[in-house]
């Protein structure tokens, strides 16, 4: 199931119409309606694995309620129990098969657990459930939440597929009060949905076709082509995921719920620490608050800080998948951030001017792009082949035929790279302009975007990259 299919589009219109009718009705009725729609949506993607979600909600909510009334060791024990119970299904679905494969290889047996499809959204609602319990434990969240509201929080369909991981503090206050949904909020939602479609269905899906070829057999391509593939993937993953986040946040806004942004121009970061403050913000802050800080954060000296960073980033890497490649990707980022943290005293002496800012942005971007090779490549050998091809078989004579053969691809890639230089002010200005446009203009914009999607649509629609995590 993808956000860009015609069936989902029609279903969303029907859903929105009923939502508008029920909006003035009792709050509980509206929540129940939203839960049923979300579970139906979840069933469509996961079939009977969908039952895991209400099961997690029942266990997590009941135990958390019990824990909130306890103190001392019992409270701590209950929190540990909740975390373990929440994590069990995720660990089972995500890591049992690769772990059994590894074990059978080590013991030289032919025993292996069958590979089971990962229920879509499990990583995201599990993390939301853990964050809720931990926040209650830390007394950072004190609002009383009934089971229906909690189930609504875990199953809210715009967040279900790929986040953003939303905290209880952001979500519950909004559903507790009778919110007035302004026209401005509705059209902000529409703006984000249109922006998301442009990013995901127009640019990311189109450039993905070529990237897939390159990563499938990097040794068949020249260094220049491999570089283009790597650049293409770097833009693809950003546009794909930030496009999805825009659509999610936009739909939530149309339903009267404001969510925090998940991407804030990450490729303009001046260092890796800043990059992780701007990239997949909901995940990076989750790991910061629920893993890095409990590990000791930066409170025990430089060496321990570096170690904590490395462990956190490796965990973040493994969250994406149980392969060696994700581990390497996480470790590289961990090492990068640790080096940056350790060298901060020296970096402070360097004055900020356009040259130092540009150089630091460029170096950070290069490092991030280099790391994407490990994230996307199917194995270490492919990643090494790709990188060695870029560094040893670079032949710029490919550039001209490449541009001639893939003009649209090059234009889309160049356009998306140039869009990174759009200032935040200009972006906000464009958003405000769109909101104040006449209704007809908004309609024409959406029609135009939809037609461009149809024009560029590939026969195989690319699923959202973050579905599989």
């Amino acid at each position: 199931m993808a956000f860009t299919t015609i069936q989902l589009w029609a279903a969303f219109i029907a859903f929105l119409f009923l939502f508008a009718l029920l909006r003035k009705a009792k709050r509980e009725l509206l929540i129940l309606y939203m839960i049923l729609v979300s579970l139906a949506f979840f069933y469509q993607s996961n079939r009977w694995q969908m039952l895991l979600l209400p099961a997690t909600a029942i266990i997590s909510w009941t135990l958390t309620k019990w824990m909130s009334r306890q103190e001392g060791t019992k409270r701590k024990f209950l929190l540990s129990l909740i975390i373990v119970l929440d994590l069990l299904p995720l660990l089972f679905f995500k890591y049992s098969h690769p772990f059994s494969e590894l074990l059978s290889q080590m013991l030289n047996t032919n025993f292996s657990l069958p590979s089971i499809a990962l229920p879509i959204g499990i990583s995201f609602y599990t993390f939301q459930a853990i964050s809720y319990s931990v926040d209650i434990y830390r007394r950072q969240f004190c609002l009383k939440v009934n089971f229906l509201e909690y189930l609504f929080y875990l199953s809210f369909f715009p967040l279900l597929l790929a986040g953003p991981i939303t905290r209880a503090q952001t979500f519950f206050p909004q559903i507790k009060r009778k919110s007035i949904i302004s026209e401005r909020l509705l059209y902000t939602g529409l703006w984000l949905v249109i922006l998301g479609i442009i990013k995901k269905a127009i640019v990311a899906d189109y450039i993905a076709q070529y990237n897939d070829w390159i990563f499938a057999m990097p040794d068949a391509y020249s260094g220049f082509e491999c570089l283009m593939g790597l650049l293409g993937f770097s833009m693809q993953i950003y546009l794909d995921f930030s496009g999805y986040s825009d659509i999610s946040i936009g739909i939530a806004a149309m339903l009267g719920i404001r969510l925090c942004e998940n991407f804030a121009f990450p490729y303009r970061s001046r260092n890796l620490t800043e990059f992780w403050h701007r990239w997949h913000i909901s995940l990076s802050t989750w790991f910061r608050d629920y893993l890095y800080i409990p590990l000791g954060g930066n409170r025990h000296g430089t060496l321990r800080t570096c170690f904590n960073l490395l462990v956190t980033m490796i965990a973040a890497g493994l969250w994406h998948g149980s392969t060696l490649m994700f581990l390497i990707w996480g470790a590289l980022h961990g090492i990068g951030i640790a080096i940056h943290k350790a060298s901060r005293p020296f970096l402070r002496d360097i004055r900020d001017n356009w040259l130092t800012i540009s150089v630091s942005r460029f170096l950070t971007l290069c490092f991030v792009i280099l790391c994407w090779a490990f994230f996307r490549a199917p194995d270490l050998n492919s990643a090494c082949l790709l990188l060695s091809s870029i560094f040893t078989r670079m032949d710029l004579s490919y550039a001209e035929p490449f541009f001639a053969a893939r003009t649209t691809w090059c234009i889309l890639l160049a356009g998306s790279i140039l869009s990174l230089f759009i200032g935040e002010k200009l972006y906000l200005h464009a958003e405000a302009k769109f909101i104040h446009w006449p209704w007809l203009m908004k309609l024409i914009t959406l029609m135009l975007v939809v037609q461009i999607v149809i024009e560029l649509q590939t026969s195989n629609i690319q699923p959202f990259l973050y579905f599989r995590f």
Partner: protein, 271 residues
């Protein structure tokens, strides 16, 4: 409610338009290009029944159309005499090219051609059509004539029909460049790649190697170098004959000396 209705209309109207346009015979033509239509999903049952009833007539229609297209290519006026230009020949394909190129080098020398050979071991029509390698070499060599020998690694594939797209893609990449396709000297009955290639490229561009008796090397598949020379001689005779779409001069080399032309050996792709 009013704001919601306006918002719903913004989503509903494009959807209605897309569905109407996809289903209607109307073609909206903005200047210079036609507006594409969205492919509407069809209910599964309907697809099955429709495909059952339509299949035979549609297949007949398609194959008729293909035959008609091929026939029109085949009937294209044949040059009365072999083209005597000093061609830049691009000879590419799988490991079979390795055997043929030695003798082809002699032909190129004897006839004043500039020859570039590319041997891509274990390659297939899929690999040649889906990668940029061919495009790169076409751009580099700018051939005026092409020789192809691909198919040895696809003799026993099950999805032969799929290969048609790849062969057509290779032809598309070659554009207007005249070419010949040297068929696989099959050592046992294949699953249809020779038939398919012949149908797609046309008989006048396809050299059928199946009738040849060639001495095989140790692997029992590739012809020995001397057998491959004989094979190339047969191809050369056919290339100069009016049976081909674009005959070129292929005078017999006066000697059997080794002549060196640019040869690229590409390693097999890993899975």
């Amino acid at each position: 409610m009013k704001s919601y209705l306006k918002l719903i209309a913004i989503f509903l109207l494009p959807l209605a338009f897309v569905i109407w346009y996809a289903d209607s015979p109307v073609q909206l033509p903005p200047p210079g290009w036609k507006l594409s239509k969205m492919q509407l999903p069809t209910p599964k049952e309907e697809t099955i029944t429709v495909s059952k009833t339509r299949k035979t007539s549609e297949t007949r229609k398609t194959s008729k159309a293909i035959r008609a297209r091929n026939a029109s290519k085949a009937i294209a006026p044949l040059p009365s005499l072999p083209d005597s230009s000093a061609h830049r020949i691009l000879f590419f394909g799988d490991s079979m090219v390795e055997g043929l190129l030695r003798r082809m080098n002699c032909y190129a020398f004897a006839n004043g051609y500039d020859l570039t050979n590319i041997v891509w071991y274990s390659s297939t029509t899929e690999i040649w059509s889906q990668t940029d390698t061919l495009r790169y070499f076409i751009n580099k060599v700018k051939p005026t004539f092409a020789m192809i020998s691909i198919g040895a690694n696809e003799q026993f594939v099950k999805d032969v029909a799929m290969r048609e797209t790849y062969i057509r893609q290779i032809m598309k990449l070659l554009g207007d460049t005249p070419f010949i396709w040297i068929g696989v000297p099959a050592w046992k009955e294949d699953s249809g790649i020779n038939e398919l290639t012949q149908r797609v490229v046309g008989k006048n561009r396809y050299f059928d190697s199946r009738g040849l008796t060639l001495q095989r090397g140790r692997d029992r598949m590739h012809p020995t170098f001397s057998a491959a020379s004989e094979w190339m001689d047969s191809v050369a005779v056919w290339m100069a004959s009016p049976a081909t779409a674009h005959p070129i001069r292929m005078n017999l080399p006066t000697d059997d000396k080794k002549h060196i032309y640019k040869t690229y050996a590409l390693q097999p792709l890993r899975n």
